[in-house]
């Protein structure tokens, strides 16, 4: 469903990404694992259409991406919620931009907020929510437009360990229920192994994909307690020790 082929990108003549290629299937999830500042965010911005690619091609369902489309939802680092909108308005914003009527978009936004455990918080502003709650609102907003692809930029990196695991569970459960494919970038090996059916190691300057790991145990909430989970983490740690 998503095809990224040979893309390169630089800023002010400094190359950031070099010859990145991979495919994401319709029932799959990919986690891109890389150190901070290696170009992961840039890659997501390119796929979402926020930034222009220099060379190469990005296809979603065989359509080239040149600007943001409603089929692709992006969850930004630090959630990207608008402080001047209530949670309900934040969640409904994508639908509003697409021209969905107020009644319909509020109904849908309310339902998704309820599904994510935020019933009763519709009229609060993001500033009074905790980090974990804000991230739930951001996830609700991403799903509200019924996207065909979800992009997430270090969505849980600023949360405490318990909240992070809770939200990782929520994300996985939501994926199991909807199977909207997602592409998530992170610098946490544990997160990558829990959330990625395949794990791509991005590193170097300019960054390129060094290795791809298959993750057969993915897709089970209890995976975190299994030995195969720890084994994969160990072998990825071992391998990335060589490039990072």
């Amino acid at each position: 469903m998503l095809t990224v082929s040979h893309i390169c990108k630089g800023f002010d003549s400094k190359a950031v990404l070099k010859d990145i290629s991979f495919q994401l299937d319709a029932r799959e999830t990919i986690v891109i694992l890389g150190p901070s500042g290696c170009g992961k965010t840039t890659l997501l911005h390119l796929i979402s259409g926020l930034e222009k690619i220099e060379s190469g091609r990005i296809l979603i369902d065989n359509r080239a991406i040149s600007k943001p489309i409603p089929d692709v939802a992006l969850i930004l680092q630090n959630y990207g919620l608008l402080p001047w909108k209530t949670n309900l308005q934040n969640v409904a914003l994508g639908l509003k931009i697409q021209g969905v009527s107020r009644k319909d978009r509020n109904t849908r936004a309310r339902k998704i907020l309820t599904d994510l455990g935020l019933a009763g918080r519709e009229n609060d502003y993001p500033s009074v929510m905790s980090g974990g709650e804000q991230q739930r609102v951001a996830i609700a907003r991403a799903y509200a437009s019924e996207p065909r692809l979800l992009l997430m930029d270090e969505p849980f990196s600023s949360l405490d360990a318990i909240t992070r695991e809770n939200l990782q569970d929520t994300l996985l459960t939501t994926w199991l229920g909807t199977t909207v494919p997602y592409l998530l970038v992170t610098h946490s090996v544990e997160e990558a192994v829990f959330l990625g059916k395949r794990i791509l190691i991005l590193s170097g300057s300019p960054a390129s994909i060094h290795e791809i790991f298959d993750n057969p145990g993915f897709g089970d909430i209890a995976y975190r307690r299994s030995s195969s989970y720890y084994e994969l983490i160990r072998s990825i740690r071992h391998r990335i020790g060589e490039y990072w």
């Binding site: 926020l50 943001p68 939802a73 608008l82 402080p83 931009i97 697409q98 437009s145």
Partner: protein
């Protein structure tokens, strides 16, 4: 209750302190220069019952409010445009930087020549002074929007107008209102200046007229009136800011 606690109590305390300091000063100086506060207050309270005072008050309030509406209404949108568009900013910013330091009051003769001696000129000069403050504050506020808020709106597929409406406009509102509120005092000051000539209406005229007649109690009626007007304008802009920016 909250209204009394937040708004009434601070004003009552302030009035008491001013009263005491004033009383001491009036005793130290002489009664001819500075009337006793109770005399001035008595004059003011009696004036509040006359239609003459309210006639002057209304004339001043009309000029100030019109100036705030016009100044804000023109400056706020331009501030947003300058803050959000490089092209507009490149085009207008030399003009703003060059004219911003000029004290706008010095343009008064030009404005009087162009628009005559009536209310319109008075309103224009106040809105010009106010407008510059709103414009600069709004522009700088819009420039300071976190890029990720804009990215988040664009990533949802917003076009240029939707980005303006959902992003730049609400982000700019608190800055525009804060500038309006902070400069409501300046509006009253300039109001006094423009009402000190070529008019027989307004609190400024009342003060100048009383001064000419050495009627110091009447002068303080005008001064208290100015203060009352200032408070109303300040609280009014505060209220507008609260209802239009509930998240702030």
């Amino acid at each position: 209750m909250i209204f009394i606690k937040r708004i009434v109590v601070p004003y009552v305390i302030t009035i008491l302190v001013v009263f005491l300091v004033w009383k001491v000063l009036a005793i130290l100086l002489s009664r001819n220069v500075l009337p006793y506060p109770e005399d001035a207050i008595h004059a003011f309270l009696s004036a509040l019952l006359t239609s003459e005072f309210w006639h002057h008050f209304a004339a001043s309030a009309f000029r100030a409010v019109m100036a705030m509406i016009i100044g804000w209404g023109i400056a706020f949108p331009i501030g947003i445009l300058m803050g959000s568009s490089h092209q507009v900013d490149k085009f207008l910013s030399p003009f703003v930087s060059m004219t911003y330091p000029i004290p706008k009051v010095v343009l008064l003769p030009v404005i009087l020549l162009l628009f005559g001696l009536g209310d319109f000129s008075k309103i224009i000069i106040i809105s010009l002074i106010l407008g510059y403050q709103v414009l600069v504050a709004t522009r700088d506020g819009v420039r300071g929007i976190q890029p990720q808020h804009l990215d988040s709106i664009r990533s949802l597929g917003a076009n240029k107008w939707q980005l303006l409406w959902e992003g730049y406009l609400p982000a700019a509102l608190p800055h525009g209102f804060t500038a309006l509120r902070l400069n409501s005092g300046v509006s009253v000051a300039v109001l006094f200046f423009v009402e000190s000539f070529a008019t027989t209406e307004g609190l400024g005229y009342l003060i100048m007229d009383a001064w000419g007649q050495l009627d110091f109690n009447a002068m303080f009626v005008g001064i208290f009136g100015m203060s009352l007007l200032g408070v109303i304008l300040n609280e009014g802009s505060n209220f507008l800011e609260k209802i239009s920016c509930p998240w702030y």
